[in-house]
């Protein structure tokens, strides 16, 4: 069965600093990978996704992520964070179930705090 690990529960960075959120996955086949962001009291919004091809994926809000098959990782990065980036971030892997239907498996999330 597929699984996703986000090793950092909470990260604090200064506004303007660079950011990297870690994500490791376990999946037997080629994974489809996603990053979602959740602002307080809101639902989840898709930041970016990786299906195939270029391993560096660009997303919304200035985020990017790099797929590294050898490390089973899909880390999220941003060169300079803004106070509005404070939120919770979820990595997810897509898999086909036993019935041939798709579903997403989520990591436990990383909460990002931005300090002035």
């Amino acid at each position: 069965a597929q699984s996703v690990t986000q090793p950092d529960i909470h990260i604090t960075v200064s506004e303007g600093a660079s950011l990297e959120l870690r994500c490791n996955y376990s999946y037997g086949a080629t994974p489809y990978l996603f990053w979602y962001v959740q602002s307080p009291g809101q639902g989840l919004q898709l930041l970016l996704k990786y299906f195939s091809g270029d391993t560096l994926v660009q997303g919304i809000k200035g985020f990017e992520a790099e797929f590294k098959r050898s490390q089973s990782s899909f880390n999220l990065r941003k060169p300079s964070v803004h106070w509005r980036d404070a939120a919770e971030y979820f990595c997810a892997v897509f898999a086909i179930s036993n019935f041939g239907n798709e579903k997403l498996t989520f990591g436990t999330g990383t909460r990002l705090t931005i300090i002035p």
Binding site: Q6, I9, Y32, F34, Y36, Q42, G43, L44, Q45, L46, K49, F51, F90, F94, S97, F99, N101, E102, K103, L104, T105, F106, G107, T108, G109
Partner: protein
Amino acid sequence: DAGITQSPRHKVTETGTPVTLRCHQTENHRYMYWYRQDPGHGLRLIHYSYGVKDTDKGEVSDGYSVSRSKTEDFLLTLESATSSQTSVYFCAISASTGGGNYGYTFGSGTRLTVV
């Protein structure tokens, strides 16, 4: 989010009572999902549907049932609510066109408190 609405947004109920949460979509997507979100657990899949009257269990389905009698509505029922079911519940939809967009669209959530 546009195209998907959850009701109610907040609910407080007593232990032992049945509760039904509703997810309504206007996107005509085939797939619909119910997740619960709890601190330290992220989002966990409760049930999902891959078509009208076609549903399957997720990883935390005990104590929950679902129904989908038409494309646009997916109902989640707690047969007899327990305090462990206090959570935020999210509905999601997906077109799943087999090679197209695999992203999900999420509703704004229902905060359920069982007292």
